[in-house]
Symmetry: C2
Subunit: 381 residues, 2 copies
């Protein structure tokens, strides 16, 4: 008896309830997802921003479809395998895609150039080598790929170092066959606190984006898209007036990073892991059947000492240690302690890699549980 594989799963209500599902199981509250999607869409409408959610969080053609229905202009991905999986999200013929990740290697550029023959594809990149490789692949495939130049605004992960360097790379892209310069992208990943707590950071970012836009304009370079990102900065996007669109990912589900960062409440956390208590043999501790192979080892960024997720029914409990399949929970401060065999619900620290460990999520809405595939799970290349 094998567990269902993603491809075998019918999208029909199951006979399971949260009390009878084999655990650990990632259960998604459909109503909360719809509300999270609408909250972000309403913000973007109010501020005249286009929305292109990052699908790294859900990796789901179904959820991508909900985001497009709510007005998203397209979807964002990190890898080509994700682009291939999300190109038909929501059963649409062709979804407008941004790969916010430098496509460098021939296996990647070749597939991407082929995909650009069926759906609009843009790529964010930060080196001339990446642009040249993409150009060669697009020419070989006879397709055109849009490019956003990635400008580092202080996170220090990818992105050219200055507005001048962004304009220089844009000029290179503008001359390469098979590519179409569309503008600029930034990722303010260093912003992990609300604006009141980090005002100088946001002002610095705004200044860099404005300077880059000015350089593009002076050189006559296209910047019809200026793309911002990240869930923590999503509702501050109007403070960067040059942005034309944003691409938050996590806000569709939310997690303890978002809650402890001050960007959402527990009630906004749509994705929760139902676990079973499998041992209480060690004093003051219970063990859950969810370890790092379920929850990941990611600590909570804004609250690194808060443990490995939040136990909803036992808020005084602390998940102190994760090994691969064991979650050790300190219950010494709980007025009532969970019993062996009892089920508890954990909100993960970081939902994105957690979803990526699941073949399916269990979509809980209107009293039914529907298994939905995580279509782009494991699409690493």
């Amino acid at each position: 008896m094998s567990p269902l594989s993603a491809t075998e799963i019918p999208a029909e209500p199951s006979t399971f309830t949260p009390a009878t599902l084999p655990t650990p199981a990632l259960v998604i509250d459909g109503a909360v997802v719809r509300r999270n999607i609408e909250t972000l869409a309403a913000y973007c409408r109010a501020h005249g921003l286009a929305l292109r959610p990052h699908t790294k969080t859900h990796k789901s053609r179904f959820v991508g479809g909900l985001q497009l229905e709510a007005g998203a202009v397209g979807l964002t991905v990190a890898k080509v395998g994700e682009a291939e999986a999300l190109a038909t999200a929501g059963e649409r013929d062709g979804v407008d895609l941004l790969m916010a990740y430098p496509a460098v290697d021939p296996p990647r550029t070749t597939r991407l150039a082929r995909l650009a023959g069926t759906v609009p594809v843009r790529v964010g990149l930060d080196t001339a080598i990446a642009a040249q490789g993409l150009s060669a692949a697009a020419c070989a495939a006879g397709t055109t790929i849009g490019v956003l130049v990635d400008l580092d605004v202080g996170f220090g992960r990818t992105g050219v170092a200055s507005p001048a360097a962004a304009a220089d790379l844009a000029a290179v892209v503008d001359r390469l066959p098979g590519l179409r310069l569309d503008g600029l992208m930034v990722y303010p990943g260093q912003v992990k606190m609300p604006p009141a707590a980090q005002p100088p950071v946001l002002a610095t970012i705004a200044g860099l984006v404005a300077a880059a836009v000015e350089r593009f304009d002076r050189a006559g370079l296209c910047r019809s898209i200026v793309s911002g990102g990240s869930t923590p900065t999503a509702h501050q996007s109007h403070l960067l007036p040059q942005l034309t669109e944003i691409r938050p990912g996590t806000s569709v589900y939310n997690d303890m990073n978002i809650v402890h960062g001050g960007f959402g409440a527990l009630a906004d956390c749509a994705a929760r892991v139902v676990c079973t208590v499998v041992s209480d043999a060690v004093s003051g501790q219970v063990v859950l059947d969810a370890g790092s192979k379920t929850l990941t080892s990611d600590r909570c960024g804004p609250a690194p000492d808060s443990g490995h997720g939040h136990v909803v029914e036992y808020p005084e409990a602390v998940i102190t240690v994760l090994t691969e399949e064991h979650g050790q929970v300190d219950v010494s401060r709980c007025p009532r302690r969970p019993r062996v065999g009892e089920r508890v619900t954990v909100i993960p620290n970081h939902i994105c890699p957690c979803v990526n460990l699941q073949d399916v999520v269990w979509w809980h809405e209107d009293g039914t549980l529907v298994p939905r595939p995580v279509d782009a799970r494991g699409r690493l290349s």
Copy 2:
């Protein structure tokens, strides 16, 4: 164009080479795996110990088959889904299985009891509740499940607290229908250093095991199996004379935890992630296309400041930060720096959860690359 899914993959040599594989890709050196398996098997033969490797590391029916060919008496798993996948490892009719994990919940006990109708199944457990649930499921299925009582020897994760408590629980198991008391298991997970560095720990563990065995014998309780575990303690097992078998997992592939712990060399690390450099835009840094969704966020236990894995071609490089799909590498101390588009090889800190992120591993042996499914990947329940 979807990437291959595990079920679609033919176990035939591919036309890829490590230089043309889509990256990131987990490549396994088959010759090193065979040597690692034989090293452990030879130790067990020399000391009269049975060997039942933990399959959590490879989750592969093929690799499990190699371990059985080398003389393993059976295989160890953590979850029922893994048991189901490994029950026919190496194309055998029925593999003798130990689930070194308390089966508590009805979805788990029911499946396990059914599996016990086709292959020998044992379970390690530490509560009467777990024993009673397992007994009920075995009775309902008309099968018999062997039980090892889990004794905590200082790791503090699972296991009853004392040799006396172990004998008490064994007596409970012994009276329950559908169960067959087979003995005792321990997991000395706290031993992370070679014996010279931690002599008192090993003496304490030996004393606890001896005391439990004495209690079992005095009460006339069966202890035909006394199972030890873990790769770090594997070659110290003869120092615990009561052990009849051991169940190390990681030693089949090894990783930087093993190297920095002093239990193996880089040359013993069979599993390595081939990555592509996708950006060098930030000064002193390159970015690999492998982040936490490929390497996991697990730090190196014995060397927590060593970064997120070892870059083979650039030993001075440090993988300082992992986000989901980006590995940021400080190359400021490298005499020569990797170029954008270049491939490098990373030995992960912790190979077990890393394998669990892959649909396939690329088996590299005799000049060929064969994609092999990670059969039990994602079998969380």
